[in-house]
Homo-oligomer: 387 residues x 2
């Protein structure tokens, strides 16, 4: 049965998905939701958001405004998110009296958005993570630095794409970092030597069904994801271990939807969980062109009570390269034809303007006989394009 | 190079595709165009068209209104169509002074929309077609009936999905049919005994690149496409012949874009061309989930000067089953979860309301180890769904 009574659904008789955030993730969720018969409404402060450009209705409002959140819940049958840095408490209050279902749950958002609490929670549940420590002041941080040798100082909440992270290798850097964070709650992670960064996208449906996509390698620069290789070029044993671990991790959290589980393959051979995103994730973008069910369709299925779809690759290997802005100014896409002249490539632009240095403007997916070929194609296509 | 100077493009600096028609084909073209960075504007008389629901701007107007067509051309860099039953003469006049490129060309639309002229044109170019005859009056039709035994009387223009077709096997039926068509220009086609109906989607780009998708079997009921099987279960020799023939046919017509070439595999073993659609086509819907480049993305690439993408199947076999309305009334989609519980199925709804008997409301794509399995899955999923 269709999970919502069409007669009582607020918009046009079609069940409605409300998304907090109308950026690229909201946009790609909306593109996946339309063919399944859903209406989409996004809450986003910027009119004409990437999601609104592909047919989502938009409530123009602040993510942190409880009234705007309440309005979104009122017109939605299902409420979901494209990022977790929001007022989980307000969301919990709204969810209490709302007829809509909320996935991820406010409890999961709350747990995950505090990275220190998230790490502690993982440890409490027997998940291997790298050494970390609460550092409430410079003195505590100095003790951690002494123990770790080198470490990353991170804000407990609100950091992403490199914002809220500082690598610290000396007392001088530590003092500078503390000053720059200006009283924000921090914690420290040891800089663990690693071979690769890995990620697994796991979907859990409201009916309890769980599926995982293959483990991928993620490559970061300036703490921003720049490339994803699928499947990760690692031993089958490591891949199996990472996939099992990701599935275990996703099972710890309340609620349905996609969970992005980022991991390190440490130089020691251990797989360590780095952090969790309770949503669709950059490391799963390749699934749009190389899976029967993209992570976006899968998320929609998972949160609306639909059965999950297959997750296997439809090509031997795939690569995703992000199109990051290289200047600040009006968006001007040049080179699409040259980029797509690279065989077996697909382009996904987000409709954002202006472009900004390191702003995520789009991505390229490519396939190949192996990840080296797929990566080479994706990189070549990327190089031929400016935004 | 990007084929359009972003600075002179009329909308938001992004190149704009204008589509005459905002139904399901316009909708799926728009869904494919957004990630490539295009704006889409459709001309359609019904506000809130399927295409507008996924972010296309809409000019609400009649397809036959030259002013509305001119307005569409003015805001577009590329003008294309989702159906060919329109005023090709008006379009030709507009194209003469428009800065936009028109694909298919008005000449091709004009040639194809007159099915008698289309058939004559194919014969002039050495393409095998079944016997047909111009029948300007009942007497001429009676001569044709005498020669053919049984035949289809068709309107020369405007017919599709069974509208404009009447099977005639006797003088009595002939008289009735003539009366029912009420003076419309007609022609007759012999009812050729056939094994299967086949179709090949061919893409030709503005740069002259040509690619073909695999030959598929199409199944019609009440002259409406109900199922498509890919690849067509025919001998490799027949498949090769059909694909070569379709490529030859597409080469005869001016302009770029997808061409749907419908054929009969006659009981004699001959492959005969039935008719051409100068656009994306129901027989190519399966490509959305089983090709790296859907026919919709391919059409966008073809008409905008972008390189074409791969056309091979990413699964051993696929099937498409149309979701035709079974009653008249407000759309009420029931059974989506049950339908998607059939493994390896994808759902594509068009956002149409009301539902009507035999109205195309959506389709289901399925894959399998062979076409029998794919068809069984698609049919089962279809049966579990009502709209």
């Amino acid at each position: 049965m269709w999970p919502v009574d069409a007669a009582t659904s607020p918009r046009c008789g079609r069940p409605t998905i409300g998304i907090i955030g109308g950026g690229q993730l909201g946009r790609m969720l909306a593109l996946a939701a339309s063919p399944l018969g859903f209406e989409v409404v996004v809450l986003d402060p910027g009119a004409g958001s990437p999601a609104a450009q592909v047919g989502a209705q938009q409530i123009v409002g602040d993510f942190h405004d409880p009234l705007a959140l309440r309005k979104l819940a009122e017109v939605s049958d299902f409420v979901t998110i494209e990022f977790e840095h929001l007022d989980a408490g307000a969301l919990r209050e709204i969810a209490k009296t709302s007829a809509a279902s909320f996935n991820p749950t406010p409890a999961t958002i709350s747990l995950i958005q505090d990275k220190l609490r998230q790490k502690q929670f993982l440890v409490e549940h027997g998940i291997a993570v790298g050494p970390f420590a609460a550092v409430e002041n410079v003195a505590a941080a100095a003790v951690a630095l002494e123990a770790y040798g080198s470490m990353v100082l991170k804000t407990r909440t609100g950091g992403f794409d490199g914002r809220g992270n500082r690598v610290v290798t000396s007392r001088v850097e530590l003092a500078e970092a503390f000053a720059s964070f200006n009283g924000t709650s921090l914690y420290a992670e040891q800089l663990v030597p690693f071979e690769k960064e890995l990620a697994v996208m796991v979907a859990r449906s409201t009916a309890g069904e769980v599926v995982a996509y293959p483990v991928v390698e993620t490559v970061h620069e300036r703490n921003i994801c720049v490339e994803v290789l699928a499947p990760a070029p690692v031993d089958a044993e490591v891949a199996a271990r990472a996939e099992r671990m990701a599935t275990d991790v996703a099972a710890l959290f309340d609620g349905a939807g996609m969970f992005g589980v980022e991991m390190f393959l440490a130089s020691s051979g251990e797989v360590l969980v780095n952090e969790i995103a309770p949503r669709v994730h950059n490391s799963g973008h390749y699934t749009q062109d190389v899976s029967r069910t993209s992570q976006f369709e899968q998320h929609v299925r998972a949160i609306t009570g639909l059965p999950l779809g297959p997750t296997d690759l439809t090509a031997p290997a795939a690569a995703m390269v992000n199109i990051l802005g290289e200047r600040d100014g009006a968006t001007d896409v040049v080179g699409v034809a040259d980029a797509l002249a690279v065989p077996h490539t697909n382009l996904h632009l987000y409709g954002k303007s202006p472009t900004k240095v390191d702003r995520k403007m789009g991505h390229i997916n490519a396939t190949g006989r192996d990840v080296a070929e797929a990566r080479s194609r994706a990189r070549t296509a990327r190089q031929r394009l400016t935004v």
